[in-house]
Symmetry: C2
Subunit: 101 residues, 2 copies
Amino acid sequence: MIKNCCSVVKSPKKNLTGVEKFLKIISEENRLQILYLLREGEKCVCEIYEALGIAQNLASHHLKVLKDFGLIKSRKEGRKIIYFADRKVINKYINLINKLF
Amino acid sequence: MIKNCCSVVKSPKKNLTGVEKFLKIISEENRLQILYLLREGEKCVCEIYEALGIAQNLASHHLKVLKDFGLIKSRKEGRKIIYFADRKVINKYINLINKLF
DNA sequence: TTATTATATCAATATAGATTGATATATAAT
DNA sequence: ATTATATATCAATCTATATTGATATAATAA
């Protein structure tokens, strides 16, 4: 323990329960735009990258990040992949943020 | 405009009004911990870096980032600098996030 | 079968920002 | 005046991740 002007506090760090990871993921502009877009309903990849004005592979990358964390899900329809938001997971983190602040 | 399977949408990107920047700033664990700590009330730098278990200069750096964005303010007291949260600004962004989701 | 379309993946590069170490500045104490 | 304390700043390095270009895969159409 460091001795300085201040009283020494024990185990003061809040357990953030992954909320920082959520924040990191949605703090990327394209991903935030994707989540916002999916509020309207499910979209295929080409709708998403076109709406955002970004390259197809870049959209795929960001979709993977969002999906790996569980914020969105996907289903197959012919040769398209349709993505949609998982409101339950998203709401969980939004509630955590509101409690934190 | 790209021709693909999807209808072409006009100007679909949401104006995020700086919320991504806010999210980027609070998505850093140490900064989130600082904001959480400052819920208790104002703290000097040494209390903050000790509570977080990080180096003094690193704490100073993160405090600067938070302050430059307007989430915290500071005042001088002897040789100490006391930091405190600006709830008004923080709440503004939290409300934006809630509207966005 | 061949060509086209939609998406994903991979490797390389670019970039932002976190961390560290050293030092500067300002205040207070001796 | 010298020393100690509290904080900030600067330069260097490290690390994570966004972006790009090329290619792979899978489904459909011709």
